[in-house]
Every structure is written in structure tokens, then in C-alpha cells.
């Protein structure tokens, strides 16, 4: 036996960039967050070769979960070709040798910023959401230690009060994205800044969602088949963005979340936010075959 049989050749970088101890910690914290759905677990959150606030939390989770067989999809605002999504995708492939894909159905792991794809995710898929601010209580309590205590006490009174005040002042809940939601009937979480359109997709979903905030060093999860209920009053129903009737000017698809594109004549055009859904729709129209999977929304409505 020689020393070389006991060791591996020196390499400039660990597989998947993160070293073994960082990955072990992340796995432990992921398991904890799955065990207590919606509860924020602090983790060390190592620096990665990307700026904080640019998806470093999601990236650490992805780097921990991938292996060379994993097919990875990365989107930002629903688009695969967004510059930061391209950068993250390239980095994961570079340090972990993974396959990349833009097809939601083909992906094993989807890292996303601000969107959940329109096609239904399966049991074998993992969605990793990048989270800028993991604390739904931040608007009513910026101090993290106090907010942590409030979660422990399930003290969400000020959260409800804030929603009530919005209804009183504006006639509706004014929360745009990041709609606070009760997970498994216990912890209020932010679903990350996904639009209200996407929150119902998390409810009793088949896939695992891991939400990771690198800068704020918090990780939380929505395990498969877990209740995710937006905070609403019984007499004021939850309302998603009114995009159900809009049609994409590029692909012709109707009934999905859209990007509004201001036009020179003062009007607006719309294009579908899930860029790959748009591509698949065009391919189908052009007779290149049907590659679209089943979607959460049907005819612009989320089935109850």
C-alpha cells in the first residue's frame, strides 16, 4: 500500500465546487427543512464564485444535489436565456459536469428565480427557488431575532393586520409577488418573489421545492403533498394576476402568466413568461410535434 492508493490526486476544485463539509451541512439542513415544512433553517452559506443576491443560495442547493447524470434547467423570470440564468447554468455544468436542458419535463432539477414553470412538475423533480428575503415577517418586523421568536409562537397577528389594513385602504390585498403563505398549517413562509399566479402550484404539489436564501443564510422547503395556503380572509378570496385571458403575441398561447411589453403607440403587448412553453407552442403550431406537458392552469384558471 502506498500513500497514493489512499488519496485522490490533487484537484484545484472539489466536484461541484463546494467541499464535502459544506455539502454535508446543506444536506442536513435540507432534511431538517423537509421535516419542518416552511420553517427557516439557518445554514453557514458559503461564498460561491458569484455575488451574493445573485442566486447563491439556490446555487449551493443545486451544487449539493447534482451528479453527472442530473439534467439541470435554470430560469430567471421564467426565461432560460436570461443572462444570469445562463451564467448559473454554465457554472453548474462547468463544475459538476451536468447535462443542461431548457425543457421543464426533461429536467431533474430546476433552479429558478421568481417563477414556477407552467407545466406540472413530477415526483422525481426538484424545484430550487432562489430567495432574496426569506422572512415573510420582514415588513412588520425587520429584526430577525424577534421575527424568529414570532414564528416559534406562531404569532402572525401583525401579518394579518397588515393584510387587513391593505384591504381597508385599497379595497384589496396589495401584496404583489412573495405572497405570504401558511405551510402545513403551521409556518408562514414567503414563497420567494414568485407572482401570486404561481403560489397555488405549490399546494399539494407532487414535487419537492427547496427555497434557499444564500445572503440571508436561511433554507426552507415545501415537501411533496404539503398544504400551502395563501393568507386570506374567508370573505376576501385569493386573487392571482388577471392574466388568464391574455394571449402571447409571439406564440399565440393563452391563459398563462405574461410579460407586459410597452409599445410605442401607448398600448401593451404580451408575451408568455415561461419562455420554453412559448417555444414548445410555436413548435407545435409549426408541425414539429407536440412536446407540451400538462399544465397547472387550464384555460387560464387553476382547477380547484
Amino acid at each position: 500500500m502506498s500513500l497514493s492508493t489512499l488519496t485522490k490526486p490533487w484537484e484545484a476544485m472539489s466536484y461541484g465546487f463546494l467541499d464535502g463539509s459544506a455539502k454535508r451541512e446543506l444536506r442536513r439542513k435540507m432534511l431538517k427543512s423537509v421535516a419542518v415544512p416552511g420553517c427557516q433553517m439557518p445554514y453557514a452559506s458559503r461564498e460561491v464564485p458569484m455575488a451574493r443576491g445573485w442566486g447563491t443560495g439556490g446555487l449551493q442547493v443545486s451544487l449539493t444535489l447534482v451528479n453527472p447524470q442530473t439534467r439541470v434547467k435554470v430560469i430567471d423570470q421564467g426565461a432560460d436565456d436570461s443572462v444570469n440564468a445562463a451564467s448559473i447554468r454554465r457554472f453548474i455544468a462547468r463544475v459538476a459536469g451536468t447535462h443542461t436542458t431548457m425543457d421543464t419535463l426533461e429536467a431533474d432539477l430546476i433552479q429558478s428565480r421568481h417563477r414556477i414553470p407552467e407545466e406540472i412538475l413530477r415526483e422525481d423533480q426538484v424545484l430550487v427557488l432562489q430567495v432574496p428575503n426569506p422572512e415573510p415577517l420582514r415588513p412588520v418586523q425587520p429584526n430577525m431575532s424577534i421575527a424568529r421568536q414570532m414564528h416559534a409562537d406562531a404569532d402572525y397577528g401583525r401579518m394579518w393586520l397588515q393584510l387587513y389594513e391593505q384591504i381597508v385602504r385599497s379595497g384589496r390585498v396589495m401584496q404583489g409577488a412573495s405572497y405570504p403563505s401558511l405551510v402545513n398549517g403551521r409556518h408562514v413562509m414567503t414563497p420567494s418573489p414568485i407572482p401570486r399566479w404561481d403560489v397555488p402550484k405549490l399546494h399539494m404539489a407532487k414535487h419537492l421545492t427547496i427555497l434557499s436564501a444564500g445572503r440571508e443564510k436561511r433554507i426552507f422547503a415545501v415537501p411533496p403533498f404539503t398544504r400551502v395556503e395563501p393568507l386570506v380572509f374567508s370573505d376576501v378570496p385569493y386573487k392571482v394576476e388577471g392574466h388568464g385571458h391574455l394571449t402571447c403575441t409571439r406564440s399565440g398561447t393563452t391563459g398563462f402568466f405574461m410579460n407586459e411589453i410597452p409599445q410605442d403607440d401607448g398600448s401593451s403587448a404580451f408575451e408568455v413568461s415561461d419562455s420554453e412553453w412559448g417555444v414548445k407552442t410555436i413548435r407545435a403550431h409549426d408541425g414539429e410535434g407536440e412536446s407540451r406537458g400538462e399544465t397547472w392552469y387550464k384555460d387560464g384558471e387553476m382547477p380547484q
Binding site: 463546494l18 443576491g53 429584526n143 404583489g176 401570486r196 407586459e260 417555444v279 413548435r283
Partner: protein
Amino acid sequence: MAYVATRGGERAIEQSERLFREEMGSFDRYRVEEVKKSLPYLIDRVMGEASLYDEDLAALALAQTGGELYEAVLLLRAWRTSQPRLQVAAPIEQDTLFTHRRISAAFKDIPGGQVLGPTLDYAHRILATDVLQGETYAPDPVEPAADPSPAYQPSVSAWQADNDLLDPPAEDLTKGNDIPDLTREPLLFPSKRAHTLQSLARAETGGVLALGYAAMRGYGQAHPTVNELRLAEADIAVIHPDGRQFSAGRVKVSQAEVVDKKGEKLGIGYAATFGWNEVKCIAAATLDLNSPGAEKGSATEEEFFLYHTEGVESSGFCIHFKLPHYVTFQSSLDAMRDAKAKKGAGASKQQEPAE
């Protein structure tokens, strides 16, 4: 018409990086060497904020980023975190520091003397424009003192503790791998003492200064007196796997003690960092002095100043606002338009509720 997706993303980011690097051109180790030689205080600052003591790597990071400080620190942090933790060095006591500069504002003279050491404090800040005319800037040579000042001195606070003027912090006997390590665990509050000092040691200089200055101007309860400010070199002693202790070299460190009267005793604030960085140490020690009992949410509360002086996090978050946010923006627009439409439709029949 066939749909052509914009797949320009990858090419665009590649070219934008090239454009940035074009200005610096190609460089080799001679430029790194030149940066290291000519900008030691910048190197010190970067090493402190990166919490990585390596002058060559710090100079390389500066050369590679064209002096974009936050980027340089991030490069070093990302490199550092991928390195294994091989050893924890032996604790360093203040009286074992090889001291270059040690001053106290609290007493006219202190045991060991006021040692000015290297400083620009009393320089007249006049720009040496002659250099641009072709002159060489040649500093006058140092005249060594007949009696060199003693290299090793205890801290001023040790004298004060002996004279019952302050209660020294309880000795922390935690050793080796049991010492909490901020780079391997999250910062939680109330913060562990080790985490607080580590966090201040690698805090962003400008951020610490801004909040420390706010405390000094009156947003803090305590007014700092610089008990001792020290620039020194510390011997790094580590244990060889065969059990012998050996020196892994010396590192430049700076530390500050600031005090204020608290009842019948002095309260003390402390900070230390890699490299020589006086402003950071005084400001950080001032925050430390002010933090016990500080009001939640005030600039001198530990949670507030430790979170907000973390340079890699704060700079990263600041520049992340450049990323597209059109989905969240669209979501807000939808809520605004709907509320407006509701108001228009219901204005005549509905009474405004009391606010």
C-alpha cells in the same frame, strides 16, 4: 413565422466580461508583485475583509479585478471557503505581539511608552504633483532611535484591570476546533462572542466606519476614548501532526481598545483585524463598546451592525437590483391597476371606511 428565441444571453455575458477585462489588458506576476509592493495598506484592507492572510493572493485579486474592491474581496472569500481547515493556530496574547505602533489617548504616557511607529497622522496632506512633472518621490530616510522601543508590551487595559478600573472579560478557554467559526456556521443572535469579533474583523471598512461614526456622533450611548491602538505582527504557531509546535510565519494585525465610563468602572470595546487598518479597528471597537444593552433596531445593536457591515453580502445585494425584476414588477402593477379600477367603480356607492 418560426419562433427564434433570443439565445444571445451566453454570448452577451461572455463579451461583457471581455470588455471589462480589455481595459486592464493582459497581466502577469510582475503586475501582481507591483501591486503588492506599492499598495500595502490596500492589500491589508482586502486581506482583512476577506479574512484571508495572503499578500500574493490579495494582490492577485486586486490585479484581476482592476481594483474593484468588493469583487476582489469576493474572489478571495470564494477561494478561501473552498480550502480545507487544516489547523487552528495557538491563541495570541497581546503581550506576545511584535509591536510597531502603540498609542493611547487615555494617558499622557503608558508603560512601554507611546510608540508612534509608521503613520501619516501628522503628515501634511499635500499632493506630490512634482512626480507628474517627472520628479522622483524620495522619502527621507528614517533615523533609528538610540533606544529602540520595547517590542512586547501588555495592553493598557491590563494595567487598568490591575488597578480595579475595569473588569476584564472572563477568560475564554475554548480551544482549537471548538472555537465557533463564522465561516462554517451561520451568525445567530444573541451572537457568540467569537462570531461577533470575527464578523467585525472581516467587516467592510466603509460600513463599519459609517455605523461607528454614527455612534461616535451621538447615536450611541458611549463616547469612545482610545485606550490603546496597536499595529503589530503576530506569530502564528501551529501543531505539526507529530506533535511539535512550529511557527507558520508572522501576520500583520491591528487592534483597538476603546473605553468609556460605565458607573464606577470602565466599559471596554475591542476589535482586531488582519492587516493594518486603524480606522476600521477604532470604529469597530466603538460599535462593540456601544452594543451591550443597545436598543433593538438601533445602529449600535449587534444584529444591526453585524448584518449591515458584511461587505460581500451588502455589495452583492445592492448590485443584484440590476437583475431583471419584471415578474415581480408585473405582479405589483396588477394589484395597483385592480385597486384603482375598484376605486373608480365603487367611488360613488361606497363610503370610505375610517382610517
